[in-house]
């Protein structure tokens, strides 16, 4: 379990040093003075670009000393950016919106991952479609979280349901799949790696995945306006490194899984009723189900505007805000030119 430190303040992970040589090959090492950055992350598959860039030594390649700081929730993470303790973070777009609406000086500078939330149901629950959720127990994440926003604004709406039609239970994703397995709920809305764990360990079906139906920019790279004003260069390098990481995730999932496996599964194998699954395979599957993307397209910006509308309608925002004011896509424009 040595990989735990790789996320820690105690220095680069064991995989870090050796990996820089065999990086994905995109871009050459950057000359000039090294930069130190503190980046916040969440230990979910959605944040794989941030973690992989660290574990595979990509930050170093771009002349960055990155300290990854783990958070339990996006809410805590973004407070640390707002308070100036972190220079950047990879977290949910909705977090940026709620805080920016309050007046925080935040900028979304790049993409990371496309929303992946799947509805996992117990095989014996009889639920085959979203409509079948009516009257059933569904475990989801906190009200106001990204998962909750899209659940209500997209999943339920498209199925013609409302929050009141379903018995909602709001818990952490780990508790959600545990409750699912224990029969306390009939269905759970989760993201990776919880879906894979649920599949491996339980008697479950996935009946719906929002990324297939309504892809939206979920995890984004967020920094503060002040950071951009004082050291844009460091942020650009960060985005370069994560871009390489995304390339590796998309093209070499096996290798990426080997780097990331220790961050998600401690045992070599995960046991379930249907036999054992190798941990690396489980993580690779989780990576493959995800769509990682560093660009924020015009299509994405429209989705962002839709999300803001949903949030306003759910009372999470007091008023509509203009998405463009929290976007700063100058790195992306330059990167696109290079490509």
């Amino acid at each position: 379990g040595g990989a735990r430190t790789s996320g820690g303040a105690s220095g680069p992970g064991p995989a870090g040093g050796s990996a820089s040589a065999q990086g994905s090959g995109a871009g050459a090492p950057v000359p000039g003075p090294r930069r130190s950055l503190k980046i916040g992350y969440l230990n979910v598959m959605d944040d794989a670009p941030a973690m992989l860039a660290k574990d595979a030594g990509l930050y170093e390649k771009y002349g960055l000393d990155v300290e990854l700081v783990l958070f339990e929730s996006g809410t805590d993470l973004i407070k640390a950016i707002v308070g100036g303790q972190l220079q950047a973070g990879v977290l949910g777009f909705t977090n940026a919106v709620t805080w920016a609406a309050k007046g925080a000086d935040l900028k979304v500078v790049g993409g990371a991952q496309v929303g992946y939330h799947s509805l996992v149901v117990r095989k014996d629950s009889g639920i085959k479609t979203v409509q079948d959720l009516k009257g059933k127990r569904l475990a989801s994440q906190k009200q106001g979280s990204t998962a909750d926003i899209v659940l209500n604004g997209v999943v339920f709406r498209q199925a013609g349901l409302s929050r009141q039609d379903v018995q909602m239970v709001y818990v952490e994703p780990a508790a959600a799949i545990q409750s699912l397995a224990a029969g306390q709920v009939d269905a759970a809305l989760v993201f990776e790696p919880y879906e894979q764990i649920a599949r491996a360990t339980g008697n479950v079906d996935v009946i719906y995945e929002i990324g297939k139906v309504w892809p939206f920019p979920c995890m984004v790279v967020i920094t503060s306006g002040k950071q951009l004003a004082t050291d844009r260069e460091a942020v650009d390098r960060l985005l370069d490194a994560q871009k390489d990481a995304i390339a590796m995730l998309e093209t070499q999932p096996d290798e990426a899984a080997r780097y990331l496996v220790k961050r998600f599964v401690q045992d070599e194998e995960v046991r379930g009723p249907s036999g054992s699954v190798k941990a690396v395979d489980l993580v690779r599957k989780a990576i493959e189900t995800q769509t990682f993307r560093w660009e924020i397209s015009d299509q994405d910006i429209r989705r962002m505007e839709e999300i803001v509308d949903i949030m306003v309608s759910q009372g999470l925002l007091e008023r509509k805000i203009d998405v463009k004011t929290i976007l700063d896509l100058s790195w992306q424009q330059r990167a696109e030119k290079k490509v």
């Binding site: 809410t75 309050k102 409750s179």
Partner: protein, 259 residues
């Protein structure tokens, strides 16, 4: 010693004033979306306190507290006293407590959810667990200080074990019981808040605070915290302190007026 009720109140007011002052000063230095000022929070409070959902949440929280906390007090006092009489039990309890009290009560939430399902039960049990320890520990330690002569008098008078418990140990450990109850009360509130945040209930003060935090509504968070603090302080000073005063009034007879 004569009671000086206005002075008692003054000290309380001073304590509240200190907290408000610190808050207001901190608010001057932090952006208002991180730490709203008192007036901003007050405005938010007025809105929230007119909101039936919020009020319903307060009621739900009180309900959970109102079951979990007294239960823990009863259990803690009973087992602590029994331990005082029966030494192996005391040692056994000490062992259990010293192992279990270090584990954050919300650690049990997943297990409780699986065992009991969602609803009030897991939150109530978390409260009970959290407030049981200080109570039991205070009473256990309290029984060790019971005067040997007081016990002997009762034994000479023919007291049964049960009578020893209720007529000597119980009154003599009362100060410890009250300390335990006051400390347990703090634990009960904290675990109520923490429990509501993770146990999948959709109402209550803890839930409100965590929801407000999720949507970057720091004023809402602060209103929640203030309501919690005010409610806890009110119950503590109106109920627990008064109870203490009544139960221990024999300490406060006239005399020693030059003290």
């Amino acid at each position: 010693m004569t009671r000086r009720p206005w002075r008692d109140k003054l000290a309380y007011v001073a304590a509240i004033a200190t907290l408000l002052l610190i808050w207001q000063i901190a608010a001057l230095f932090l952006p208002s979306f991180l730490l709203p000022s008192i007036p901003q929070t007050a405005a938010r409070a007025v809105r929230l306190l007119g909101d039936p959902t919020f009020l319903g949440g307060i009621r739900d929280s009180f309900l959970r507290l109102g079951i979990g906390y007294p239960l823990a007090c009863l259990l803690g006092a009973a087992l602590g006293l029994a331990g005082g009489l029966f030494r192996p039990l005391a040692l056994y309890l000490r062992g259990l407590i010293s192992i279990l009290q270090s584990v954050p009560p919300i650690t049990w939430v997943p297990f409780l959810l699986i065992l009991l399902g969602f609803g009030n039960a897991p939150v109530i049990i978390v409260i009970t667990i959290a407030s049981f320890f200080p109570m039991a520990l205070a009473v256990l330690n309290g029984t060790e200080g019971v005067s040997r002569t007081h016990v002997e008098v009762a034994r000479v008078m023919g007291a049964s074990r049960w009578q020893l418990l209720t007529k000597v140990y119980a009154p003599e450990t009362l100060p410890a019981v009250i300390t335990g109850a006051q400390v347990a009360f703090g634990n009960a509130w904290r675990s109520l808040i923490a429990g509501e945040m993770v146990a999948g209930v959709s109402s209550g003060l803890g839930w409100s605070i965590s929801y407000a935090g999720e949507v970057a509504d720091m004023a809402g968070v602060l209103v929640g915290i203030v309501v919690v603090g005010a409610a806890a302080a009110a119950i503590d000073s109106l109920v627990l302190e008064q109870l203490k005063r009544r139960l221990l009034h024999w300490r406060n007879g006239a005399g020693g007026d030059a003290a």
